[in-house]
């Protein structure tokens, strides 16, 4: 018969080491798949698609420096589903006739911007961020100008990608 821990101190040490090792082994074995499951989104490539916004000829006819909100619909895979993401594109034409395609999310924390014509500014209803019509910050806490959508012009149509230009921290659209 093996000795009990009370009879032999070395036996006691041995048993405690075995208990510790088994606990750690089980813990690690469980933690690996759990961490994998939780961290999984970091290893997923995001689904990038093009979606048509409208005809260039129509967009070029808007008034200069008056933003036009145009919805765009991205059909993307999200997890196990395929969903439509409706998003606003702010189309602005400057004096020279150049078109800009901004996102309507505030660059501070992502609230939906309101265009206030009397002030000629975009205002964030959450924390008071303000942008001028060309997307530059003119007040409040936002750290950077408005995000611009990745876009291209093909066969007279403007196509928008569900992705922002100059977006190092991968802020979602």
């Amino acid at each position: 018969m093996t000795k009990s821990s009370e009879e032999s101190p070395s036996r006691r040490t041995f048993m405690m080491v075995v208990i510790g090792l088994i606990s750690v082994a089980i813990g690690v074995a469980l933690a690996i798949p759990i961490m994998g499951e939780v961290l999984n989104p970091l290893f997923k490539r995001r689904d990038i698609v093009w979606s048509e916004l409208g005809k260039v000829s129509d967009l070029e006819n808007i008034e200069p420096l008056v933003p036009k909100f145009v919805p765009v619909y991205f059909r993307v895979k999200e997890g196990w589903t395929v969903n439509t993401l409706p998003r606003q594109v702010i189309v602005v034409k400057d004096i020279a006739g150049k078109l800009y395609f901004f996102s309507n999310q505030c660059t501070h924390l992502g609230c939906p911007l309101h265009w206030i014509p009397e002030r000629q500014k975009f205002m964030c209803p959450c924390h008071g961020g303000m942008f001028n019509v060309l997307g530059e910050v003119v007040g409040g806490p936002p750290p950077r100008p408005l995000f611009a959508w990745v876009y291209k012009i093909e066969n007279g149509a403007v196509l928008i990608q569900n992705k922002f230009l100059d977006n190092p921290k991968e802020r979602g659209v």
Binding site: V38, L39, P41, L42, K44, R46, F69, P71, V76, E78, G79, W80, T81, N83, L85, P86, R87, Q88, N104, Q105, H108, L109, G110, C111, P112, H114, W115, R119, K121, M123, C124, P125, C126, H127, G128, G129, M130, G139, G140, P141, P142, P143, R144, K169, E170, R171, G172, V173
Partner: protein, 368 residues
């Protein structure tokens, strides 16, 4: 007959002894009504669990459906509005009385040696309950839920170094999507309640182990000095937990439950419109307990400073609160004998109330 049943249990598990041990705890006598908030919170949590479980009979954690499932529960299920209302107003009551409970403990110096661990366990419960409130707000699936998820995950993204990864992990991708809702659901319904269920018994066990330590007014007759650790072990008078303290606890519980119930029946839970990412004129609002933090977010402009309002100030605040018993190590308990702590506490509460009151309004128009 009852005697026989009692004997049957006693022979096997010494049930009577167990109940006596549990109910016989001595409670300092003078502060009776002030000591009811802890029990009240335990009671409110039980109500939240009971209502929450049955809300799940109808709820669907899927963004395009969640709001309509909640709407159906409220408008087409018998007494569903009351069940949902109790869950909402019960949550509000819980957060409010947590603040009351914490303030009581703070001002009466009850976190001091030997009760440091109890304060830390309580702080864990506080943090978890606030996150439970926020995640609950997100699960309704209405417009505010949608923008709250976006804003708060963006707040998380300002955490130094890991922020960007954190946002992707919480959202289950770069966008707020079906996985986001699923994650929040799992956190709200399983993860956080289990933490609460583990920490409430710890919080209680520590009370039993540290013995009856009361407010300063329990020790008026004591001749010992405040620095003597033995002084705080011997209140002038004590009563048993059951029924004396329990009687007061349950009256307070009934009063608060009554108010919650009336609010649930009369006002119910507002569900609001379906989320519309295309909305052009929607102004998201946070729940009342988050408004102070919301206000803070308005004050730190630009790249370098955002981290103050999103990460540094809240984190430092929580660290100070967690470490309070280790920072304030004096033996004085009476709020009048430690004026610095009392004045700081009052100023902090006033600041909190002030930020909450102005937090609901957008700051934009004033600064143009």
């Amino acid at each position: 007959m009852f005697q026989k049943i009692q004997n049957w249990f006693d022979e096997r598990i010494e049930l009577t002894e167990l109940i006596k041990e549990f109910n016989g705890e001595r409670i300092p006598r003078r502060g009776g009504w002030v000591y009811t908030f802890g029990s009240l919170l335990a009671f409110l949590f039980t109500v939240q669990v009971a209502t929450g479980i049955f809300l799940l009979f109808y709820y669907v954690p899927y963004f395009p459906m969640a709001r309509n499932a909640t709407y159906y529960l409220k408008h087409h299920v018998l007494f569903g509005n009351i069940l949902l209302g109790i869950h909402l107003w019960g949550a509000f009551a819980m957060i409010f009385f947590l603040l009351v409970h914490m303030s009581r403990v703070y001002f009466s110096g009850a976190y001091k040696k030997p009760r440091e661990l109890q304060w830390v366990a309580g702080m864990v419960l506080f943090s978890v309950v606030v996150v439970l409130g926020l995640t609950g707000y997100m699960l309704i699936g209405n417009e505010n839920s949608w923008w709250t998820i976006n804003v708060l995950t963006n707040v998380a993204s300002h955490t130094p170094v890991v922020g960007g990864f954190l946002r992707i992990i919480v959202r289950g991708g770069t966008e707020t999507s079906v996985l986001t809702m699923q994650h929040i659901f799992a956190v709200h319904v399983w993860l956080l309640p289990i933490i609460v269920i583990m920490f409430i018994p710890m919080h209680l066990l520590f009370i039993r182990k540290t013995g009856h330590q009361g407010m300063a007014l329990e020790y008026k007759n004591s001749k010992l000095s405040d620095d003597d650790i033995n002084k705080w072990k011997h209140p002038d008078a004590t009563v048993p937990f059951f029924p004396d303290q329990f009687y007061k606890d349950i009256i307070i519980a009934l009063a608060v439950f009554g108010v919650v119930y009336i609010l649930a029946v009369v006002y119910g839970a507002a569900i609001g419109p379906m989320y519309r990412p295309l909305a052009l004129n929607f102004a998201p609002e946070a729940d009342w307990y988050f408004l102070a933090n919301e206000e803070l977010l308005k004050y730190f402009p630009g790249h370098g400073l955002i981290v103050f309002s999103t990460f540094l100030i809240p984190t430092i605040g929580f660290v100070i609160l967690f470490a309070l018993p280790f920072i304030d190590r004096g033996h004085e308990r009476s709020p009048f004998k430690r004026p610095a702590a009392t004045v700081l506490g009052i100023l902090f509460l006033l600041l909190l109330v002030y930020l909450t009151l102005i937090g609901g309004e957008p700051k934009a128009p004033a600064t143009v």
